[in-house]
């Protein structure tokens, strides 16, 4: 019975010219966004791989100089573009692309693509992820609004129920039909992306499977609610009006309001304040008898004890290198503390948005989708921290090279630079990305449960209607 209901529902949808047209538009948009997404991702990946190579050549060819000067010359780490960015570029365009790694400082990533993009960018990036999370729900509402309401208006609903069709089977059949139509629309784009991902990195297929699961469950929830509204509306017109207004509120207006409320409750510090606080704390450490002096003495004694000497003059070393190294260690601690506070603000902002997802579920879906694709903020922070850890190791190696040579005019050259390992970034493992996203999973779980309850209530209502 369910199969027959689903088949009839598919026929109803396919026969409606307006729905055919809307579905065709979405198929084109999805294919276009998947194709452009793939091209864009590959261009970015190629460009950054080439830049990394060129930067390495520059680093190795910087010429003979004092090791600490080489540390100041530094290098750039370019943000890698995960293969699945072709599906959902997430926050990549608003986040920086390159991190300058130099002595004494932990820099932010610079060169966000969105800053150079025109007005158009503010209308949203048309990625496959955006189409699935924002536009496909609109199609679901358009497909579902008449499922019961139109049949009731035509009188066919009463006929079907009078033939003894169990209401829940009717609902399930219609929902299956909706999902089948959506599958036909989104399927080709997913296959295209799967091919793209396999070519790039086959391990991305697992993540793509997870994405498919995420979107199918999201669509199922939306279909359940849309069918329930169709079943309880007085007319097809009021079902359509409710669903359209619902879409605008839930998908277009709501997320912006949620973000602004979160911004107000936990505002991000401006960079001026961030840097002023950092500088002030750094100066406070350097006052006579302060933290710097205390740490310097302790480190000096420890080093001398380990080498069995009473003073630096007994050793073939350059004390300036020791001072630079200590400064690097303290600066890293200081920057670490301030960046941790900044990231804590960001994380609490994300938590607030996860809670807001209970009202506007698209927030949860977009957040999880970006997380699975490795284009979310957590992945970005991980890249930033990994690049800084690399910076610290390289700068320390250079400071130690300076320290171990008593001659103040000592210089390092190409062979030393070549011995410095390259920055190899391994993305965050999926489990580490998804674990902090548990509130979004809870929201989706609750929504699915609500979907089941709503379907049950809808079935009861239909039974009542027959009586």
């Amino acid at each position: 019975v369910i199969g027959r209901i689903a088949r009839n529902e598919v026929i109803r949808i396919v026969r409606d010219g307006r729905l055919r047209c809307a579905a065709a538009v979405l198929v084109v948009l999805l294919a276009l966004s998947a194709w452009v997404g793939r091209e864009h991702q590959q261009t970015l990946a190629r460009e950054r791989a080439a830049a990394t190579e060129q930067e390495r050549t520059l680093f190795v060819g910087q010429g003979d100089k004092n090791p600490h000067s080489a540390a100041h010359y530094g290098t750039y780490a370019f943000r890698t573009v995960p293969a699945l960015a072709m599906f959902d570029p997430g926050l990549l365009s608003v986040l920086g692309t390159a991190q300058y790694l130099e002595a004494h400082r932990r820099n932010f990533l610079v060169g966000a693509v969105a800053a150079d993009s025109p007005v158009l960018q503010r209308f949203g990036e048309l990625s496959a992820g955006y189409v699935l999370a924002v536009l496909v729900p609109l199609l679901i509402f358009l497909l579902a609004y008449g499922a019961f309401a139109e049949e009731r208006e035509n009188g066919t609903l009463a006929l079907v129920l009078a033939q003894g069709v169990v209401p829940w089977k009717l609902i399930v059949g219609k929902a299956i039909a909706l999902l089948a139509v959506l599958g036909a629309i989104a399927g080709p784009a997913f296959v295209m992306l799967a091919i793209g991902v396999v070519v790039e990195d086959w391990r991305g297929l697992g993540r793509l499977g997870l994405l498919a699961g995420l979107y199918v469950s999201f669509f199922a929830v939306l279909a359940a609610f849309a069918l329930a509204i169709s079943a309880s509306a007085r007319s097809a017109r009021s079902a359509l009006a409710t669903l359209l207004v619902g879409w605008v509120v839930l998908f277009v207006v709501g997320p912006r309001i949620a973000v602004m409320v979160a911004d107000r409750l936990r505002p991000a510090p401006d960079l001026g304040t961030f840097e002023t606080n950092l500088r002030a704390e750094r100066s406070a450490m350097r006052v006579p008898g302060g933290e710097w002096e205390r740490r310097e003495k302790a480190a000096e004694q420890e080093l001398l004890a380990s080498r069995g000497a009473k003073g630096f003059e007994e050793l073939p070393v350059n004390p300036a290198g020791f001072a630079m190294d200590l400064d690097e260690v303290l600066a890293r601690e200081l920057y670490g503390k301030h960046f941790a506070a900044l990231f804590a603000t960001q994380r609490s902002h994300e938590r607030m948005l996860a809670m807001a997802a209970a009202l506007f579920p698209v927030l949860a879906v977009r957040s999880l989708s970006a997380a699975i694709c490795g284009t979310d903020l957590e992945s970005h922070r991980h890249f930033h921290e990994s690049a800084d850890a690399y910076r610290f190791d390289v700068v320390r190696a250079m400071n130690m090279a300076m320290f171990e040579n008593r001659d103040p005019s000592f210089e390092v050259g190409a062979s030393f630079y070549e011995s410095v390992p390259r920055f190899e970034y391994r993305g965050l493992p999926l489990a580490s990305v998804l674990t902090p996203r548990w509130p979004e999973f809870v929201v989706l779980g609750v929504l699915m449960l609500l979907g089941v309850l709503v379907t049950r209530r809808c079935a009861l209502r239909l039974t009542g209607e027959l009586a």
Binding site: L120, V259, G272
Partner: protein, 492 residues
Amino acid sequence: VIGVIVRTELRMLLRDRALLGIACVVLALSGWIAFEGHSRCASKIRVEAEARTQFESRLSEIAAGAAEARTALEQGQRPLTPPAWGERHAAFVGKFRAKETTVMPAAPLGALASGASDMSSGVFEVGIDASDLTQERAQLEHPISLAIGRFDLAFLLIVLLPLLVIVLSHAALAGERASRRADLLLAQPIDATKLLFGKALASVIVLTALLLVVFVIVGSTAAWSTPTFSSEGGSLRLVVWFAVSLAYALFWLGLSLMVGRSAPTPSSSAMILGGIYVACVIVVPATASLTAQAFFPPPSRVEHIVASRQATQEAEKKKADALARFYHDHPELAEGKDGLDETENWVRETEAQARSIEETLAPVEQRFAAALDGQRRVSSAFAWLSPAIAFRAVVDDLAGVGPARRGLYLEAVADLLERRREFFVPAMLARQPIDDLSRVPRFEFAGEAAGTALRRSSDLILWLVALAVIAFAIALRPLPAARFLDPRPAAS
């Protein structure tokens, strides 16, 4: 007759609870937008004021340090020139200690639209090197906010106003037709075209009144949110913004009436209008953005960084050449160069190298700027594709949050660098002390007159007005009575 139709229609519209509800929501949202916009501007103004105060207090500190150094020299009966490194040295002051933090002043209507202004911090630290202009401070705004975008007046008007217009007018004709009231109406001595005209006029009155209230709420807040409101012609910008919003609303109204002329039922009218709305406001802009990204992408920042690094390294490697060229350009300084102390040698070497890097980098920077400019020009052509994109481009420009005003700001920052160089560099090379810090050039940004912004956007403004006129002309053309009536036989 039209007067009676308009009055009746107005009465009906004002009785429509759904419409009143949506109007109340729009007004409440306007209030919230005004409040949010005001606090955003206030925080920008605070940052700007802090930067200025900090700069002035730094100058005072330097002046005090310089006076102390001078006194010490006088007491020790030592020569006052050339200055040793420190508060009296032009390189120390201009290059390091007295860098001025420039903050882009809040836009004249910045409380109402954020455009792309939140994508970059608009903060530079200007010393005396050209490289200072390439190092804009990072933007700490929450990335999710940047990606999702703000709920401001521009968004409210682009996205919600058309919906309000559709709710207001989708049933104007189709409702009468479907409810068979059209039969009764036309049985009276009323012409269908006049009826259509009366209904359109009533909707125009309601929309104008609503927009006026919205603009009074947000405009009065915007007027005292930023000092640039008065200096950059905020009132005129606001009036034009109101007029453009009205044109945008009338375009949607015209479209809605056009659809209503033939739609059999209000729901089919709503369905068609909903489709056009989603296409114009969501799909076309997003597709245009995608096309721009695919075929006319902005120049690569990554490649630009590498090109700059290459240029810098090349210049560094030619350090000796750069110094030789420097003395060639400044023969007056070459005399006695061998007797200079380490500091002065460093000053000249650094200056020579900075100029060399600047020269090598100039073509790289120019190429990048030209590519960016070309990309902007191409993508601005997309504004003609959808009234939503055109409206956004116009209001962003009028509000002062578009690329044009940022371009002016960047010019002002470059001008400050130039004036600082003129002030510090000759003193630095001639080994003259900087004793009068009140003459240190300060950042000046005059902004832009409203007329200039208006002239720049005039083509798109005319396009929006033309779209409204065309939509209205098509919608209000004579309506034969037969087309107003439902052709289906009445149910018994």
